[in-house]
Amino acid sequence: MRQVFTPLKNILSLLLVLFIAIPFIALMLSSVATGWQWPELLPESYSFRAWEYVLFSSSRTWQSIGTSLLIAVIVTVINVLLAVPAANALVRFQFKGKWFAEAILFAPIIIPPFVAVMGIHLTFLRLGLTETILGVVLAHLSPTLPYMVGAVMISYSTLSVDWENQARMLGAGPFVRFYYVVLPHLLPGIAAGASLSILISLSQYLITFIIGSGQVVTLPILLFPFISGGDPAVASAYSLLFAGMAILALLAMDAALKKYYQTKNPSVLKVKGVKR
């Protein structure tokens, strides 16, 4: 078999270089290049001018990262509060009009949310919600909430009611049951939903632009003028920072979840291990 898989591995490695490595190398080289003239495959000289500008001389970078993260976190917290009861109802109850509720909740995945945001823009203007963080948060809810509901639904579908009944028999009230039985089981789903919610919120440009009207400066709003025809070195540095922020947010979420299981609930990890 070996002779079949060696060429396969070569093809995969080639694809990996083409698809993943070259784009990142291009961004990195371009961010430290000075005067990268056309037929030269590598820049003539290097400097950290662009990075210095992005990280130190422009205070707007850190402000915009702060604004981006603040919006993403508020959006995600609201999403958790809305999605957990909704997922509970959709997974554990049979009732009339269930398909309709699902259709409403998942519609923003298919119908582009900017359509709704452009439609509601003038109403937001009248209510004084444009140019405010609150307005942008409200606008970010519909593109993110469906993913949170979907993720929590998956967790609920593997949680048997027996566990809660057992806790009830042992005398646990509804809040104790939720906190000690339901919540630990839902956490991986909530974390997955939160990762998606944060990622989607962080990368919104159009919605933030319409509602924030240029006054709520998130990282994508700050970055856009640079990548549409500004200084390529600064644009590349900002792009790397932007991509890095998204990836870091995901890794942090992953690490937090792992830590939670190690410190608070070592048994869950074991159960998970047995299943696999």
């Binding site: 698809f19 900017f114 359509v115």
Partner: protein, 294 residues
Amino acid sequence: MWQKSKPYLLLLPATGAIVLLFFGGLFDGMLKSLGYFPAIAERQLHLTAYTELLSSDSFWESLSLTLRVAAISSLLAGIVGGMLAIALFMMNQSAKVKESRLLQRLFQLPLTIPHLVAGYVIVLLFMQSGLFSKFLATVGIIDQITDFPVLVNDPFGWGIILAYTWKEVPFVLLMVYPLLARIRDSWRDVSRVYGAGNLSFIREIALPIMMPSWIIAVFIVFVFTFSAFEIPFLLGVTYPSMLPVYSFQLYMSGTLADRPEALAVNIILALMTIVLGLIAYYFSKRWNVTKGWQ
């Protein structure tokens, strides 16, 4: 009574938020596309915006560009993503599970990259003085910058197609790979007993298993590309522009008279995505894509 109304109460906050913010916005936009602007004392509903839109060339050119770009990029992402899934699966079979899992994660990276960054990567690589052009010049295939084809900000939309293909290949991989991963090793042994080589194993077993969810994945990529804004805004030309960009241009043009038209573009876009979404939903239920084969 409580037991009966409980699921509705649990659903109320989430559906309320979506109804108010999302469907409220759609409805608000639809009213305004029909010329209902109480702020400037316009309360008469009429279809002027729609008739004007449907009789303008720029709308139809926009629509055909949108369909073309969405079709080509979803097919390309589907083909590359499908082949990648099979390649990773075959590698997984050769018992290098760890390596293949690492590769799989690396290939998933573009999914986490924001659209604007993906667009800029395509600019860096494919513009006429971009990295690929520099590479071709260094190895002596082209002599001048102008020998490299215009792939960014081109009227056909190649830049947008490249960006979306890059971004959505991992999505297709994510949708089809889990199905392939459920093929048991023993099946491969059985197929070998009956004399099936690698190619016929792929053709007879792997392809039929991944087909339904592959089609749905390609379809979803199509709908996503259809309603994309950031990448065509960055990589397209001003005329013709893809529908979302076209709507944005009309909306931001400054005159209030263009706004109903912009919102009319949005409503048409929303209706098309609803129809496409319903088709995808129907077939994914029918083929049991989410649960997979038993």
